[in-house]
Amino acid sequence: MSDSMNPSGIDTGVPDVTRTLDSSGPGTATQHERPDSSNGLATTIVKSWKAPIGFAVFTLIALVLFVILGRDGDSTFTLSADSDLIQLPDITVAARLTGIIVTVLMAVITVVAFLRVRADRRVPLWLTALLGVLFLFAFLTWVDAGASLPVQVPGLLVGMVSLSVPLIFGAMGGVISERVGVVNVAIEGQLLGGAFVAAVVASITQQPLLGLVAAAVAGAAVSFVLAAFAIKYLVDQVIVGVVLNVLVIGLTNFLYSQVLSKNAELLNSPPRFDRINIPILSEIPIIGPTLFRQTIIVYLMYIAVAAVYFALFHTRWGLRVRAVGEHPQAADTVGINVNSTRFWNVLLAGAITGFGGAYFTLGSVGAFNKEMTAGAGYIALAAVIFGQWDPIRATLAALLFGFASNLQNALGIIGSPVPSEFMLMLPYLLTIFAVAGLVGRSRGPAASGRPYIKS
């Protein structure tokens, strides 16, 4: 998806750059530059066998798990809750048969992938997604085989969204920040700061909306430190990020123990947002309860994802952000103030991430707790990289991580044959695979992590 997206982004970029140049001076030399590089990209597709090999590995796992170690019995999937307007019937499948069918289908997909790569063509994303969904379905069937409780599909999905919200906000913040050229390891700190401030402000004012705004301010404040140190003092961005996380953890822990826990009624009992059912959409089976019976923060998240995607790839602002992140010298040459662009966008990224922090205290959990983000910021960072610095892909990656975390809860109820720790490990393992390039080559914005020293 992004493979087709990036060139298109560059294409929209070319006229703008040349136009600006034409107005400022003779720009004949620039015209051949971008097309050259994009041609170069198009012709130098390296034959990558990583995807088919990865597919083959998963197919092999499926063969072992679902066929050789297959479990007999029926598996039931519940598709709607009792309160739903439209009731879908439960689906019951035979576990072993499903496992065999899915394994065959996966083998077919793997062969297709091999053939495509041999023919010098890419393996499309939907094929990977299809393989993943098939594997997942077979896995759930295998787990639930013979169990007395059905797999609650709506619960699984609602939990996924709930766990993903902070990840997605964090990933959006990460995408903006990295696209503009500042590595944002401080997502964790921004989330935690947002959660803390949201809880305090909402508790004092009894207005969750004010808490939400305060969370954005807190996230931006953490970002401010990051930006100041990274851009003004040229401190390595990863170090600042890591240290900022420690700093925010220390600060919030200290203030929690010293102030919040002593005045919990006044300072740490935030009112939570109510769920808002969107009239017609919320009655769609499966999708409705998952997406349209949520709090305002979640709706804000949908808007944020769409807005970040649109703004990044279809507006002047986005073009500038990407230019600054990819080639600051060039951006500077056409009159973009690199460092101030970076500064304000890192602040914006922090504010967006702050919303995600507010979700902890105003949406899901309630009162603030020590280190309540529990590494969500790092997972969001992983989602950014897994999603290849693309807002939509990063969102999907965050959803995947949310699903994996939630799967562990769901399987705990059914009684999983796989230890829960291994389910919890899954997102991190996936990220390592992603980063190591088994899933696809991930290449960040060229100038990300490098301070720009204007000379």
Partner: protein
């Protein structure tokens, strides 16, 4: 000017500098040490890998900056303590009628806190026996033992341009390996200890080596991989700890290992009254080893060359990828020593999943504070060990949460990483502006000053 710079898509293309050859060429000597000859006008300081920047910044600072940074962090910590103190809050309500009360309350709370910190970390004035009086300093050394080892690991990786944030995972794996040997294999006295220590080193080295191999083979960013491996290690260890037959103590339902056999425990250095154990000697030996490695061995020279500029190192015939693997193996092994110190020295009665005690992350701050130099890390480790020992004493005595230590530590690192900030706060002169350049930094400054001139020339030439 504009077409020249914009037509260079990457810094790797020296050709497009054709339009304005005269300008930069004439000012070439000033900027030549830093920038390759091909970089023409605008800030195309063909960025050496980002790690070099920070490394140079870390190295380039002075001891004065470090001390002032610690001071500044303590002041900020003091403000936090004062603001959140209930007596101060109560007195500040009537600040304008009797300001003395507020200042008195501030003094009482801050001096009480830092006094307790000092007494918990260095010398206990209230102790009625000699043992009680000097126990704090030995506690500091005990806390410093794993910090030094892990700090050395992180610092060594820094020197080769790698960020090892995976201290937590490496410590956990090392602790598991070492602990497993320590409680399950009865071996003769002496040999058992050595085998257990080696097992821990190997465990840490393997966990760190994964990162090096992935970085060398696939270019995977070590920060991401180490963070992810931390989580994997946490879940792996907590699974093993609750699985009978793996690490869980037989007959127990707690996620905890059996106690170490006495043959595998680090012997006490000062007798049973103190917690100080022989792990400190191992940490000192490790410091000497890293010093020797970095400044006397050819491998260490390669590491440093790779850290300063991997491209130049490659040109000079150094196998950069292999260096990444080696340095991560060594780094993981050193961090593993910290896990060993925890298991065989501090917590010998069986450990649970919190055995790393946040040392993996503290090690980053230790390495930064120690400027990635072995003896600097040694001193920084002792300082942070003092913070830890004192922090717990402060929490017990004054009721101030130990988390304030985290704040102070991270502030120290932030301030140290940004010398200009500290200089601005204390109004110190910037080195290189008044006197002639002497550090590796000034050339960059002078080139930065020279370049606008070059650009101006270029414009004028057009």
């Amino acid at each position: 000017m504009s077409d020249a710079a914009s037509s260079a898509p990457g810094s790797s293309a020296p050709v497009p500098s054709a339009p304005v050859p005269s300008g930069p060429a004439s000012s070439g000597p000033a900027s030549s040490p830093v920038t390759p000859a091909g970089s023409p006008t605008m800030g195309s300081v063909a960025p050496p890998p980002k790690s070099n920047q920070i490394l140079r910044d870390i190295m380039g600072g002075s001891v004065v900056i470090s001390i002032l940074a610690v001071l500044l962090a303590l002041v900020v910590g003091g403000i936090l303590i004062a603001v959140t103190d209930e007596n101060v809050q109560a007195a500040s309500v009537y600040f304008f009628s009797r300001p003395g009360d507020t200042f008195n309350a501030i003094w009482v709370s801050v001096s009480g806190a830092y006094g307790a910190l000092f007494q918990g970390a260095v010398y206990n004035f209230g102790g009625n026996t000699f043992v009680k009086q000097i126990k704090p300093i030995t506690d500091t050394l005990t806390f410093a033992t794993p910090l030094i080892a892990a700090g050395l690991g992180v610092g060594l990786a820094f020197r080769a341009g790698m960020f090892n944030i995976g201290g937590q995972g490496q410590m956990l794996i090392a602790a598991a390996c070492s602990g497993w040997v320590a409680y399950s294999f009865p071996l003769p006295y002496g040999i058992h200890l050595i085998v257990a220590v080696l097992a821990g080193i190997v465990g840490g080295a393997v966990w760190g080596g994964i990162v090096g191999v992935l970085k060398a083979r696939t270019g995977a960013h070590e920060v991401i991989v180490t963070i992810m491996l931390n989580y994997i290690a946490v879940y792996l260890i907590s699974y093993l700890l609750r699985t009978p037959g793996a690490l869980q103590a037989p007959g127990s339902s707690n996620p905890k290992t059996p106690a170490d056999l006495p043959t595998a425990i680090y012997p006490d250095l000062l007798g049973g009254d103190f917690n100080l154990h022989a792990g400190l000697l191992v940490s000192i030996a490790a410091t000497v080893f890293v010093w020797w490695l970095l400044s006397r061995s050819s491998l260490g020279f390669k590491f440093r060359a790779v850290g300063v500029n991997p491209n130049a190192a490659r040109v000079a015939g150094i196998n950069v990828k292999r260096s990444y693997i080696y340095v991560m193996l060594l780094s993981g092994g050193l961090v593993g020593l910290a896990g060993v110190a925890q298991v065989l020295g501090t917590v010998t009665s069986g450990f649970s999943s919190g055995i790393d005690a946040g040392i993996g992350f503290d090690a980053i701050t230790v390495a930064l504070l120690g400027r990635s130099k072995p003896w600097g890390i040694f001193v920084a480790g002792i300082l942070f060990g003092a913070f830890k020992a004192g922090g717990f004493a402060m929490q017990a005595g004054q009721g101030i949460p130990v988390d304030i230590v985290l704040v102070v530590q991270s502030l120290i690192v932030l301030f140290i990483a940004a010398p200009p900030l500290v200089r601005a706060v204390f109004r110190l002169p910037t080195p290189g502006t008044a006197k002639k350049p002497k550090q590796p930094k000034p050339p960059r400054d002078s080139s930065a000053q020279a370049k606008p001139a070059a650009a101006a020339e270029a414009v004028a030439a057009k």
